[in-house]
Symmetry: C2
Subunit: 356 residues, 2 copies
DNA sequence: CTGTGATGCCGGAACGTTCCGGCATGCCGG
DNA sequence: CCGGCATGCCGGAACGTTCCGGCATCACAG
């Protein structure tokens, strides 16, 4: 039922079509409120559009004098390039897609990470769009995946999308992204353990999420390695990655009751350590004296706890910036697939582990 | 020194220009890795590009049978519209600009707010770009300004840019944005004061930032109004909007020393209340018993403090989503300039004000 | 003088979608 | 029969920038 119009139309000249009139927009920026276009700049500078474009972008061959004239015209006109036109021509989008584990989007860590990515993108004139499982994957130039989970089907799909991809920490599943920003979690946990030991702890324990993410696996591994080096059986209690604070607190209470010899507790899940202090006080124990307390994720809650809790500052915001920048380096050819960059993290010692 | 090439070129036919060959891209989606274009969908469905476009967008006049055929073709091809082409044609960008007070971008509140805006934007197929003072203002379809400060020149410039603009809280300067998302801060502070009074407090005090933002002014006003209604002289200590935690803690210490009759302290600055508990303990006082403690901004640190601190949950993430959605309503003509929407906030009562 | 290379400019076509108005067909009323 | 209207399709042009290759001029070497 498809009708081919060229077959049924009577032969003869087609009436001329009236021009699509649009208030001078095709000439560009002639009205007081219309953004200047490249054509406006070119006409103002008395050159062709190609020369104007080349002068502004530093491409082609343009004399210094002509370039200065074009730059001056652009500045005087407040010219801002039309990104849509540019990206259409270049088969690009100017946008990066960002994905973080959806079960934890309320986490302070991920909010800071997202902020960092948005900030890093803005610094490179890129826009950001969040990629979620309930949404058709939009066209983007590249991807940043924060803490990719092994059991997340959306992550698997994104990893296989053929787009330049950067992950924060390694993907625990098959294959690695084009770029990885990673931190020395195991080593820093080791340093934390050394510090606890130097503060007199001899029987440390760890509460950590399962190994679905590279980060949790590294924390777990770092603790186990430290115990092996010190001839200690690792005392570990595993909780789900998205366990609520109550569940972590319950796990801590059970662990401490089961093993009263524990004298230092390291909490993996973000925020968990701050909930242990009140628990200890209920039992008449003093956090930082009767039991050393540390967290693998720093936050404002750790800083403001009583006593302030020794933590590993993961600098999530800076991690986000760093991931975005590595992606732009990949997109610009300044980095090659397989690139890995170390994001520095830091052990912050506070009163919760300063036994005097 | 501008050379007009048509004047110097010898008369005669211009050699035919070789076609710009690009692997079938002008036909659209013929290669296995090339995204399908509208032309691909049209050809697959056996219709014109205009009919394909109309069928996918629900515009024009398309029969149900033809529409179904086009939708099926698009689905089979995994067609994703080229946003750059669409936005170029429509003179739009598909991007919203976001600005938050730069002095406080490390604040947990603003990171959550930014996350909410990004999330709300993604739900509406919009990208987000952060607008900062060190960057040329990009082309965007509209603006979201979080807590616009009266003394921020960038905010003044953005408010005057002629773009659809939504603010979270009112702009304390001249003029208002097209849309405002606001919360009943003064009323909720009043409810908090009622609660403190019901818990036995008779001499409350407030630490708050100056009136450079609508939020701080509302908190301050709500406290003053409550005191006026209860024949109390308002006890207020003002700190800078971006005062570090140490400074707020010092202000609290001085105020409590100056006015030992104070039996309830309300902290405006985010996170500040959590730092008062340890301060009280240093003086042998018990927070929640010897002095009631409350915060005008909830966060994880308030939840995890010892004791947990009664706070006003501003729901920053949801506020961000709400601002984004109001902007899209304005852009889509679903809301008119001058629109105001109330974002619900909630008093969360915790142990810090539960004197038994 | 001729040929070559460098410099600096240029116009046309491309990108993928939307918008606009034209055209063909069928139905109904006068 | 003719005219008007509704329905459903259609092609051309537009959007603003980039890419490509052509052309003119000049200087230098053989």
């Amino acid at each position: 039922m498809v009708r081919n119009q060229s077959e049924t139309r009577p032969a003869g000249p087609r009436p001329a079509r009236p021009k699509d009139v649009r208030q001078g927009a095709s000439i560009g920026g002639v009205g007081p409120d219309e953004p200047a276009t490249l054509l406006t700049v070119a006409r103002t500078a008395g050159v062709s559009k190609t020369t104007a474009s080349d002068a502004l972008r530093g491409s082609g061959r343009v004399s210094a004098e002509t370039k200065a004239r074009v730059l001056a015209a652009a500045a005087a006109l407040g010219y801002v390039p039309n990104g849509s036109a540019r990206h259409l021509r270049r088969a690009s989008t100017g946008t990066i897609g960002l994905h973080v584990p959806e079960v934890l989007t309320r986490s302070v860590y991920y909010m800071a990470f997202v902020f960092g990515v948005v900030q890093g993108a803005a610094d490179n004139d890129y826009d950001v769009t969040l990629i979620t499982s309930g949404r058709r994957t939009p066209r983007v130039d590249g991807l940043v995946l924060g803490d990719p989970m092994a059991d997340d089907p959306l992550v698997a799909r994104l990893m296989g999308a053929g787009l330049p991809t950067v992950t924060c920490e390694r993907f625990p599943g098959a294959g690695q992204a084009d770029g990885v920003v990673l931190s020395q979690h195991a080593e820093t946990v080791g340093a934390l353990m050394d510090h606890l030991s130097a503060s007199g702890a001899s029987r440390p324990a760890l509460i950590v999420a399962g190994d679905a993410s590279d980060w949790a696996a590294a924390v777990h591994g770092g603790f186990r390695d430290w115990c092996a080096r010190h001839d200690l059986e690792p005392l570990v209690r595993t909780v789900p990655f998205d366990a609520p604070a109550d569940e972590v607190r319950r796990a801590a209470r059970e662990l401490l009751a089961l093993r009263p010899e524990i004298d230092a507790l390291v909490c993996g899940p973000a925020g968990a350590a701050a909930g242990i202090g009140p628990l200890l006080r209920e039992e008449g124990r003093v956090p930082g004296r009767d039991l050393l307390l540390a967290s693998c994720v720093d936050s404002q809650a750790m800083q403001l706890a009583d006593p302030p809790i020794t933590s590993i500052d993961l600098r999530p915001r800076e991690a986000g910036v760093r991931c975005a920048e590595l992606l732009f380096d990949l997109l610009a050819g300044r980095a090659r697939p397989g690139a890995e960059r170390v994001h520095p993290i830091e052990l912050i010692v506070r009163d919760s582990t300063r036994r005097a």
